[in-house]
């Protein structure tokens, strides 16, 4: 546990001592604030469910921004360590691969949380300016969904970063993978037939939609947790494989 925390602490230092965290969080908040403003202005004042509509549109928009921002969070997680040779330090220290991988994963999740948390300001704004207020469970389930969805993207991105020594390649791979996930969802939306339904179930984004509707579906929670565990497992294997490579 102490070793895991050492890695976590080091990663947090890396994010927050360097400008990375501030640039990412800053830009993310600027974009989300900007779009929140757009949604508020676009909402129909007369409709009784306007606040709910704004809240859901905003939560849906956040998911889209994650696709663009999270590759930048994870691109260096392993690629940079490999390039600098510090992976050799970690791997000749008395810590396990799982401790390394989990420490890094929780750190990226914390940075993600730091991006997400200030958007609660927008939710407070909705609360202050609407009557009646939208159901609170949408906020709870929406943010839980965002955390699970973001966590899945981070796990996938970290895995891809462990495959290369080059941050740019890691970012490009991650971004491409996210686009494919998004395309699968977009292409199979409303599709019928078994193939379409299977793809819809496998779509990372589809499950998030349920969360923005205020539904906490065990299928969705299970799906995301399995997704995260799968990619954490693959990352552990990938890190371990560095011992077998020639370099």
């Amino acid at each position: 546990m102490r070793s895991l925390y050492a890695i976590y602490r080091k990663e947090m230092g890396h994010y927050f001592v360097s400008p990375i965290a501030y640039v990412l969080v800053g830009l993310f908040l600027f974009l989300s604030g900007f779009f929140f403003d757009l949604y508020v202005n676009a909402a129909n004042d007369q409709a009784p469910d306007a606040p709910t509509w704004v809240l859901r549109a905003f939560l849906g928009f956040l998911a889209l921004v994650f696709l663009f921002f999270l590759p930048m969070v994870t691109m260096g997680v392993y690629a940079e360590e490999r390039k600098r040779g510090t992976m050799e330090l970690l791997m000749t220290s008395p810590i396990t691969e799982l401790q390394i991988v989990l420490g890094k994963f929780f750190a990226s999740l914390t940075l993600f949380g730091a991006m997400l948390l200030p958007t609660a300001g927008c939710v407070v704004f909705i609360w202050l300016h609407s009557d009646p207020v939208p159901p609170f469970r949408i906020v709870l389930s929406g943010y839980l969904g965002a955390l699970l969805f973001g966590g899945s993207l981070l796990a996938l991105g970290s895995f891809l970063s462990s495959l290369t020594e080059n941050q740019i390649i890691a970012a490009a791979l991650t971004f491409a993978a996210f686009l494919v996930l998004w395309a699968i969802d977009f292409g199979t939306r409303g599709a019928s037939g078994p193939a379409g339904q299977v793809l819809q179930y496998l779509s990372v984004i589809n499950h998030y939609d349920d969360f923005t509707r205020g539904i906490i579906d065990t299928a969705g929670v299970t799906y995301y947790l399995s997704f995260i565990i799968l990619f954490i497992f693959l990352t552990v294997r990938s890190v371990d494989s560095m011992r077998w490579r020639r370099a």
């Binding site: 602490r9 230092g13 890396h14 600098r84 040779g85 510090t86 330090l89 791997m91 000749t92 011992r243």
Partner: protein, 319 residues
């Protein structure tokens, strides 16, 4: 402290380390000498638990590197060829991080960092970011990292690379001062380094051990195959003949290119007999003028070249 037996590492068809066996006693400094690509780094990486061997065993502090990898890693400090540094960290923070991943409890960390910084002379750089340090200082931080947790065994892969002559001397002193309380393996392709710092030398070439001995023994062992250098004023041809006739000479090389007309000759003699007096007597007998006569002991450099090039010559036809 370290026992290596029949250690072999193959990368696909390439055998980087080929049935290497040696032991290192507690408190000893062992030098790993070999040309680039000889298998030094691979051997070290196996010892540090970074990579598994294809076959053979290695034990560090009594623990098997394959079975008890984590335990071995607890007892080892390792400086890879490129120091594993985080450029955005300050020196002190970095060393503290290293102690944390080495599982050193909080109450001991502060003192350990102080000690490592003092030993590597980094006092005035403690709060500086590593990226702002010069190459030599970075190397020292790398060294501090390898010894900060006070490990039984310290493994250093080319510790003096990239340092200026003054820093090299400092680092050698530091390494020597660590011996006794720590067991040290260091690799290098610089020969004087070995004769100056190490108690024993392993000469490794193409993955195989060419020789294991103390630097002194290696030098004297090959000194028995003596080499004599002389300077005379004499006609070239008769001189060549004279030297050739002396029993025990194996190779005679003459050089008549000197401006003052003196001849210089290098004679290699078979081991076991000293032919210097014989040569001197013969030259005087002829009435030639002898200006200089001296036995040259082969340096570690010669031994190294001899061992490694010989090996290459043997290996080539079989390939």
């Amino acid at each position: 402290m370290i026992e290596v037996q029949n250690l072999t590492k193959a990368y696909g068809l390439v055998t980087a380390v080929d049935h290497v066996s040696f032991t290192v006693n507690k408190g000893e400094i062992l030098g790993f000498l070999g040309p680039n690509g000889a298998g030094k780094t691979t051997t070290m990486r196996i010892l540090t638990g970074f990579m598994p061997a294809t076959s053979g065993t290695a034990r560090v502090s009594g623990f098997d590197v394959a079975q008890d990898s984590l335990e071995v890693r607890r007892h080892i400090g390792y400086l890879p060829e490129a120091p594993p540094l985080y450029p955005d960290m300050a020196v002190g923070t970095y060393l503290d991080f290293v102690l944390r991943i080495k599982n050193i409890p909080a109450e001991r960390r502060r003192a350990r960092v102080d000690d490592a910084i003092e030993k590597t002379n980094l006092g005035d750089k403690r709060t500086q970011l590593i990226k702002r340090l010069s190459r030599g200082y970075k190397q020292r931080v790398g060294l501090a990292q390898a010894l900060v947790h006070d490990p039984d065994v310290i493994i250093l892969d080319e510790p003096t690379v990239g340092l200026d002559p003054k820093q090299i001397i400092e680092v050698r002193h530091l390494i020597k001062s660590l011996a006794g309380s720590h067991t040290i393996i260091l690799s290098t392709h610089i020969l004087p380094e070995v004769s100056m710092t190490c108690d024993r030398v392993v000469i490794i070439n193409k993955g195989k051990i060419a020789a294991v001995d103390t630097p002194q023994n290696l030098t004297t062992q090959l000194k028995s195959g003596q080499r004599i250098q002389l300077e005379v004023r004499a006609p070239e041809k008769p001189m060549q003949e004279l030297l050739g006739q002396i029993p025990g000479t194996s190779r005679v090389q003459l050089d008549s290119s000197r401006a003052d007309g003196h001849l210089t000759a290098t004679v290699e003699a078979a081991p076991g007999q000293d032919i210097r007096s014989v040569i001197a007597a013969k030259i005087v007998e002829k009435g030639w003028e002898l200006y200089e006569l001296r036995g040259v002991s082969m340096s570690l450099e010669d031994i190294f070249l001899e061992l490694t090039t010989d090996d290459a010559a043997h290996a080539q036809p079989s390939n």
